[in-house]
């Protein structure tokens, strides 16, 4: 196409463009009528003969603003709707929003319903300059607003919408680190008593009395899982008692690394108790990595040796049921602990004591006294404290605020909502 060679060439093109636009508008009106009942508000518009021109006022105060706190991708638009845009008997049928990029041709960006007064345009480029205008249209009239001043979206450094989220995360994270540090410095951190742990001694006593072995299953995951680690920590406590009372222990495991760790733990306990000669490597043996193969083997051990007490501490999957059932059928006292929510119900229903979820970690932290674990537990308690306080205050304030319309309470709720909002 040869642009601007002579003015005579322009006329037919302009004519075609004009036809095209008319056609397009017509089509979009038809489209709006078939597809969008809201734009086609025949019921709400005043009955006017088709021939009469329905003059409407354009929208005013159209403002384009860069959306803050993003990487230069969004512009927010706001305007005051046309005064002819009314709830009942509106003359305005809707709006069309046009965008001009870098002084190019206007392009239709969106069709909006009556009453719309804002729009956000995403996926922009920070290098380009954008300006917008709105058309308010009636049955046969279009009122165009003034164009906005061209702007380009800017890239910002910090998303201040998320400042409170950052603050809360900072407080909780800070608490974790603070408590880890203070535990390292030797400060004693309090952890409440955990019912399942108290049952441990009793259960070991029972096995000693009956002269039958104790079975310890540390789950089926490897040493890199926190639940296995917690299980081994609890094994430490169990093996101290065993070494003192000289009770037998059997520990089939499904990972070779767990086997090594468990042997070390039990050996250490026997050494502390002053009878290292009583320890033997046979107490812990590796069976297989295969889930069901392992279960079949453990089942066999349970049926043959009839342990008096069974510990199930660690990460369990589908096998939880089978193990707990067999343990139950041989009449053992069972103490279980896992953090896997799907398996917990089965343990609670089939075992005598269960460490539920975080209790397992709390027990482990309590027993090991490791600063890392204790500090985290304390830090998490700070988080829970914040959550509890927010729920208590928030619900009370919101209930009172809405019931008696107390302004102060509403302020509290507003403030809490801002604090906890994630958007």
């Amino acid at each position: 196409m040869h642009v601007g060679k002579s003015t005579s060439l322009y006329l037919p093109q302009l004519f075609f463009l004009f036809l095209f636009i008319c056609n397009f508008l017509l089509l979009s009106l038809v489209y709006a009528q078939t597809d969008d009942p809201l734009l086609n508000s025949e019921d709400s518009s005043v009955a006017i003969p088709d021939s009469e021109l329905v003059v409407v006022a354009p929208v005013t105060s159209l403002i384009a603003e860069d959306y803050k706190y993003d990487d230069g991708k969004q512009i927010n638009l706001s305007w005051v709707p046309s005064i002819d845009d009314q709830l009942v008997g509106s003359k305005v049928l809707g709006y069309r929003l046009f965008r001009i990029i870098d002084d190019g041709k206007p392009e239709l960006l969106a069709k909006l319903r009556c009453g719309a007064n804002s729009y956000s345009d995403g996926k922009l480029k920070s290098e380009s300059v954008y300006s917008y205008y709105l058309e308010a249209f009636s049955k046969n009239f279009i009122a165009t607003s003034t164009r906005t001043v061209p702007i380009s979206p800017e890239r910002e450094w910090i998303n201040f919408d998320r400042k409170y989220l950052f603050l809360l995360a900072f407080i909780i994270g800070g608490a974790v680190i603070f408590f880890i540090e203070s535990a390292r410095r030797g400060k004693k951190l309090f952890v409440r008593k955990i019912a399942g742990l108290e049952a441990v001694d009793e259960a070991i006593g029972r096995a000693t009395e009956m002269g039958r072995p104790i079975l310890f299953i540390p789950g089926i995951l490897d040493m890199n899982d926190v639940q296995t680690l917690a299980g081994i920590t609890i094994l430490g406590r169990v093996s101290q008692q065993i070494a003192n009372y000289d009770t037998k222990i059997r520990m089939p495991v499904s990972r070779s690394l767990v086997m090594t760790a468990a042997r070390e733990t039990i050996k250490a306990a026997y050494q502390t108790a002053g009878r290292p000669d009583q320890y033997s490597d046979d107490m812990v043996n590796y069976v297989t990595d295969e889930q069901f193969g392992y279960v079949a083997a453990v089942d066999g051990i349970m049926v043959r040796e009839k342990p008096a007490t069974v510990f199930l501490m660690g990460a369990f999957f589908a096998e939880s049921l089978i193990l707990a059932e067999t343990g139950n059928s041989v009449g053992a006292i069972q103490i279980a602990g896992t953090a896997r929510p799907a398996q917990l119900p089965f343990f609670i229903a089939a075992c005598d004591f269960t460490l539920i979820g975080e209790e397992l970690f709390a027990a482990s932290a309590y027993l090991s006294g490791e600063p890392k674990q204790l500090g985290s537990l304390k830090g998490q308690d700070v988080g829970k404290g914040i959550a509890m306080a927010a729920i208590l205050i928030g619900v009370l304030a919101e209930t009172i605020g809405t019931a008696w319309n107390v302004e102060f309470m509403n302020d509290v709720v507003r403030w809490l909502t801002i604090l906890f909002t994630t958007q």
Binding site: A362, M388, T402, A403, T422
Partner: protein, 223 residues
């Protein structure tokens, strides 16, 4: 071929079920096939979808003719992907014990990225959003709620609060705090009961699915 396929599938299905009678050779055979096939399955899928589809195609985009009829890359080659592949190959080094330590680099990368993402994700979606969703007016905005909803709201608020109290380890469960924790553990027990029921439902569905296969697809006794 269809007949052979159905019989193979049935043979394998029954083989696994034979474990219910006791551990036996048939079960072990099927289990070994399962282990081999599933490892191989992942191997193939990851080769085509990731190592070929993402890395190879990303670095060496397929050629295509453009509008001018020239043979060009259909997309810009992304050479940064090579870093990912190098890390991936380092991962494999674990198979050779002598240089196994190299595999810690990609492992550190995986652990680091999941930690960074998890921290934010869980904090926003599973803590902040949940706390926000629990702050509700018990009677609705204009007393519009029915008794059913008000009781429900109360249950949610009290249940969540007391449940948190139960998992609070810095205070002994005594006095009012202990009683609150008690309500918490009751709520959690009801929750576990629901999970129990749903898990049973899930397991039974799987069995029903297999029985449908055996009697329907294989033997053709049911429609």
């Amino acid at each position: 071929m269809e007949h052979v396929a159905l019989w193979i599938a049935a043979f394998l299905t029954l083989g696994i079920y034979s474990f219910l009678y006791k551990d036996n050779i048939w079960y072990k055979l099927c289990e070994s096939i399962f282990v081999g096939i599933s490892a191989g399955y992942w191997f193939v899928v990851l080769f085509w979808d990731n190592i070929y589809g993402k890395f190879w195609v990303g670095v060496f985009p397929p050629k295509a003719y453009n509008d001018a009829g020239e043979l060009v890359n259909s997309a810009e080659p992304d050479y940064l992907l090579i870093v990912g592949a190098v890390l991936g190959v380092m991962m494999i080094s674990r198979l050779i014990p002598k240089i196994g330590w190299v595999s810690r680099w990609p492992l550190a990368f995986i652990v680091g990225s999941t930690s960074g993402l998890y921290l934010i994700n869980y904090f926003t979606s599973n803590m902040m959003r949940q706390v926000e969703a629990t702050i509700i007016p018990l009677f609705g905005m204009n007393y519009e709620l029915s008794a059913y909803d008000i009781i429900g709201n109360l249950v949610i608020v009290i249940g969540t609060f007391t449940g948190l109290v139960y998992f609070f380890f810095s205070k002994e469960h005594k006095g009012w705090f202990g009683r609150t924790a008690k309500i918490g553990i009751w709520t959690i027990m009801i929750t576990f009961g629901a999970s129990f029921g749903y898990t049973v439902m899930s397991r039974m569905s799987l069995l029903i699915g297999r029985i449908d296969f055996l009697f329907g697809d294989w033997l053709g006794l049911i429609k």
